[in-house]
């Protein structure tokens, strides 16, 4: 009876290939990071020094600024994406007439898939000047005593620009998840709420309350996307080793650091390893956040039965 399943034989190699690939990827990042940990220990993650040198003994790399930049810009992105994605979901499910609804959904899906380099070129040429002129300058001239706005917006390339661009880019991801969760609430709840004589705002608040976990996972996944984004960010963030809370100051993210430095890292003794350590950090943070988002979403889908 124990016949070998030929279907398994056929598909198993592909599955094993994917597993091995992923495991190998993790292995490569850990293995390649080891030298820098041996060289400077945890300093790689905890200090903000970027000292490349022809003389290996003088090399020292600390990527705290890049880690901070990745997290900071992603947080800005999520803060921007949440209200937009929520409005969008409410509009699509509650207000939009059928024709517009489909167009709006397709638009959002196109935005989710649009090549990031196009966001990048638009960000660098359109968004950054716009933000500098209409947001940063006025805020700086009036509110510069607040630490958030204290950095002079010289070029416009900054955490804020990167965060806003990322926010625009990840809104469709958050939207897709929130929209679906919102749509999964049966119409009868809405009818019940309206029957109580509630206004649109009040009804929506009740229904939106039902999908709070989905909103959280949508934001986690959007955060995961934002933190991994490379080219668009590297074109607008300014690529400066800076560690500041000020929104208008230029900075670095891990991914833009890798994109900028990896090409010539082989010249130096320790830089390659330092960048791999940065990649490892990105690997771990990104995977952890995404897994949390996915688990949260899966648990919500399993637990909630309308």
């Amino acid at each position: 009876m124990k016949k070998v399943d030929s279907f398994k034989i056929l598909t198993a190699p592909a599955v094993i290939f994917v597993f091995v690939l992923f495991a190998y990827m993790l292995f490569v990042y850990i293995y390649m990071s080891i030298p820098i940990f041996q060289w400077e220990g945890c300093g790689i993650y905890l200090t903000n020094i970027w000292h490349a040198s022809e003389i290996p003994a003088e090399e020292y790399y600390g990527i705290a600024a890049a880690i901070w930049g990745s997290v900071y810009t992603s947080i800005i992105a999520v803060v921007i994406a949440l209200p937009l994605a929520l409005s969008y979901s409410i509009f699509v499910n509650d207000f939009a007439p059928p024709r517009i609804k489909n167009a709006v959904i397709v638009t959002s899906d196109v935005m989710a898939g649009l090549p990031t380099i196009i966001y990048g070129i638009w960000g660098a040429y359109v968004l950054v000047p716009f933000l500098r002129q209409w947001v940063m300058m006025p805020l700086y001239s009036t509110l510069s005593f607040i630490p958030l706005f204290s950095y002079p917006p010289v070029s416009g390339y900054s955490y804020l620009s990167a965060g806003v661009l990322l926010g625009i880019m990840v809104t469709p991801f958050a939207s897709a998840i929130i929209r679906e969760a919102y749509a999964s609430i049966p119409h009868t709840y809405r009818e019940a709420a309206y029957s109580l004589g509630l206004s649109r705002y009040e009804v929506t608040r009740i229904v939106a309350g039902m999908i709070r976990p989905a909103m959280v996972s949508g934001l986690l996944l959007a955060f995961g996307r934002a933190i991994g984004e490379t080219v668009a960010v590297s074109l607008v963030i300014g690529n400066t080793f800076n560690m500041s809370i000020s929104l208008f100051s230029p900075g670095y993210t891990i991914s833009s650091l890798i994109a900028n430095q990896f090409g010539n890292a082989f010249i130096y003794e320790h830089m390659t390893s330092a960048l791999f350590a940065g990649g490892l950090a990105l690997f771990v943070i990104g995977t952890a956040i995404n897994m949390a988002g996915l688990l949260y979403l899966r648990r919500w889908k399993q637990n909630v039965k309308f």
Partner: protein, 275 residues
């Protein structure tokens, strides 16, 4: 006289409309900007823009490279992704099946730059050169989870009753899946494949350290460097020359048209896929 409640309701509706507008408006602005900036660049150079080398003011090698990379990465990625998708569909309840599914979802969200760096260290460094093959391999890794998830999803949409019917005819698992069920889900799978190709054709980060870039001659073979439109744009924006910027906008328009030309018709047809 409006009550406080009614005013609040009006404000709420206004905010929702404004938020939706803010979420979608950038796309239209991007499209307009890219057309306004890119069209003159293309028109002023004519056909040369599509066939010429960079010094001739064209993106020919990059265009060619993008198609080459899309083709090669499909060649590597699609069979693997297709089989993995079928595995996930066939063994959804097994531990391994669930594990693979989670892995695919993680890979779907995985930072693409990390894939590029990984492929560089396992292919470019040993081979001693950037190559189309390395670029295609990096893109294939990004493509696999898309196609696998779409495949599993498309298969999943086939009602169980057809599955039972095909097994009831005394067909083996291989025959049931490949000869009966896969053809039923053909459309859904093709959709996933096309979306994945459109997606990887627009990728930049994984190509940064793998494909190398090649803009003055057409690529020679799969083991030599190759260019790609997104990569070209990335390089050109960082150049100080205004002529390069014009070329970048033109290239962006081409990329946008390719993407929208593939993606939108597929996405529009999606809602018709019904059993």
């Amino acid at each position: 006289m409006l009550s406080f409640r009614q005013i609040k309701d009006k404000i709420f509706v206004g905010l929702v409309l404004a938020g939706t507008f803010a979420a979608l408006f950038p796309l239209f602005h991007i499209i307009c900007t890219v057309v306004i900036m890119g069209l003159p660049a293309i028109l002023s150079r004519g056909l040369v823009f599509f066939t010429g080398t960079l010094s001739q003011g064209g993106i020919g090698p990059a265009l060619y490279g993008t198609f080459m990379l899309a083709f090669l990465s499909s060649l590597i990625g699609l069979p693997v992704a297709f089989l993995v998708g079928l595995f996930v569909y066939e063994y959804p309840e097994s531990k391994l099946g669930g594990f693979v599914k989670s892995l695919l979802q993680i890979m779907l969200e995985f930072p693409t730059i990390l894939v590029g760096v990984f492929v560089m260290s396992i292919m470019v460094i040993p081979m001693g050169t950037y190559s189309a093959l390395a670029g295609a391999f990096a893109l294939a890794i990004i493509m696999i989870p898309y196609v696998a998830v779409y495949t599993a999803e498309a298969m999943h949409h086939i009602p169980t009753t057809y599955r039972e019917a095909s097994f009831s005819l005394g067909l083996s698992r291989v025959k049931s899946v490949f000869h009966v069920l896969v053809p039923m889900a053909k459309r859904g799978i093709m959709t996933g494949v096309l979306i994945a190709i459109a997606k990887v054709a627009g990728e930049t980060a994984p190509l940064l350290f793998t494909a190398g870039g090649l803009y003055e001659t057409y690529p020679q073979g799969v083991t030599s460097p190759v260019g790609a439109i997104p990569l070209l744009i990335y390089t050109l924006i960082q150049s100080p020359s205004p002529a390069d910027h014009a070329t970048a906008w033109g290239a962006a328009l081409v990329l946008l048209l390719i993407f929208i030309g593939v993606f939108v018709p597929i996405r529009m047809s999606l809602k018709e896929v019904k059993m």
